[in-house]
Symmetry: C2
Subunit: 307 residues, 2 copies
């Protein structure tokens, strides 16, 4: 399939950058594996709950959110390691949202990242509980022993705002099904369902580096615009991509009359708006100078992705 | 119906104590109403999510958990007001667990506190999201502006441990359905599903008062034993109570072969064990002297309750 927004921008994302991204993902994967192994010292009799958690948390994905956390910390001069609890916590929250959104009561999806969704493997009860566990666990990770109290409190405030935004956005998304396409409602859904958590990632990373409030604002704006662009691309991929490539069911938004960018603006105008949003994201990075180059490439990557 | 455990202990709970409890509940109810009104300044278009949250959070209940938080703070010499965010947060987590547990994928209940369960009124999608929202919101409440960073971090660590315990306990409860009655498994379920959150309430209240670690341990043990006794009584009420009085379906544990105290020990032995657990709870209070008198009465109340 063709890229949803911008074939030409491939050039902006160098091979070196792609190797860096791969290495970051491996670091995140390893950190999550280590973390899960530590948890296994608390056995849970007769329950597949830990297996259900592990199934969804370890099945790859882009790891975009933890990478954003770690890189936002590095851009602000902090050691990425300091942001690692935040990176793991946002991935827990993201995974929680995927498991719950896939449930029959919400989007009723059978395929995620090319594999059966959590409830198809473990049943609805365990999938529901695995999501709940991941959401609660995210806050346990942020407040673990050894993390400075004020840092933990700030992270928790940021992450709870991001998680609440997602839930509110998902509520509006479900409630908007079957209604006439509504530009204002689509903005609300995109901003809450996707952009708030990406904004949260950048803020948490910057906070880990003790960045000043203005830098948190800049990186927050970057994450928000990036999140909005990401969701426009998601809407476009659902419209124009294939189930095989996406690893999840394509074409379902139109089937249930979801509020999407293509439904409001059409495909071409949506592509133009995704580009504009990435431009706004990149502009927010300008005051940070060349240190922010990788985040710049990450923004390009978001609109050239094909799954 | 007769009281499940101990008719004679009624005398231990004075009219004065009952008036105090009523006043505490009113205080909690008012605080939750004020809190919900503040939230209404952030409208959510086209979504019944806020209504679903409000429905379950305001429909009364015993308010046992927030009262435990507030009283544990007072017993440790702190002003109860300081523990109010913790009291609201634990009630959010408790309400989250009720909404999710009632869903068709879990206990599939239609009645709660004498009213239709959340998903019967708002549909499964909004009920699921309302639970998610309440869990995330609890952590937003604990980390709000104006709360000391170290206090917030400690509260978050305690509450996430309590919430995780509940989810793990519910997982074991679901997984244990239909298996032969198993004493060890019942202990695990009771400890996690119910006792951990009551332990958390006492710890959070004591922490609000800057109580020393030993006092947190004592009150934690009180809450844990109280929670275990509470769940034994719950099991007994399900076996011996009526749907009309309980405000929720009676007799369902046996219908799905749940792991319960009566299933393992029979009704009489379960009553004896509930009394022993309350005795253990009360013993934990001894070093705190007469200040802990109301908590003492609360423990009596838990085994004489009939719903």
């Amino acid at each position: 399939m063709s890229l949803p927004v911008d074939d030409a921008s491939t050039a902006a994302v160098s091979g070196e950058w792609q190797r860096w991204l791969e290495q970051q993902r491996k670091w995140v994967d390893a950190a999550i594996s280590t973390h899960l192994n530590e948890l296994k010292s608390h056995p849970q009799p007769h329950s597949r709950l830990p297996a259900a958690v592990e199934y969804s948390l370890t099945q790859g994905g882009k790891r975009l959110r933890p990478v954003l956390v770690l890189e936002s910390c590095r851009v602000c001069g902090g050691p990425s390691e300091r942001a690692l609890p935040a990176a793991i916590a946002v991935e827990c929250v993201h995974t929680f949202s995927l498991i719950h959104d896939d449930l029959p009561a919400l989007d009723d999806d059978e395929l995620r990242r090319g594999r059966p969704t959590n409830h198809k493997v473990f049943g609805e009860a365990m999938a529901l509980l695995a999501g709940d566990w991941l959401l609660a666990h995210a806050f346990a990770v942020l407040s673990a022993d050894g993390i400075d109290g004020q840092l933990a409190a700030d992270w928790v405030r940021m992450l709870s705002a991001g998680a609440l935004g997602m839930v509110v956005g998902q509520g509006a998304d479900i409630a908007g099904e079957g209604r006439p396409a509504d530009a204002e409602l689509v903005e609300f859904i995109h901003l809450h369902k996707t952009a708030r958590l990406l904004e949260t990632c950048c803020r948490m990373g910057a906070r880990a580096a003790d960045a000043p409030a203005e830098t948190l604002e800049l990186l927050g704006r970057f994450g928000r615009c990036l999140g909005q662009a990401f969701q426009v691309v998601d809407d476009l991929l659902d419209r124009t991509g294939s189930t095989a490539r996406l690893g999840k069911r394509a074409g379902k938004d139109a089937d249930v009359s979801k509020q999407t960018y293509p439904a409001v603006y059409g495909v071409d105008e949506s592509r133009a708006r995704a580009r504009q949003l990435v431009e706004s994201a990149v502009q927010a990075l300008e005051p940070l100078g060349p240190r922010a180059e990788r985040l710049h490439s990450l923004a390009q990557f978001v609109i050239m992705r094909d799954r």
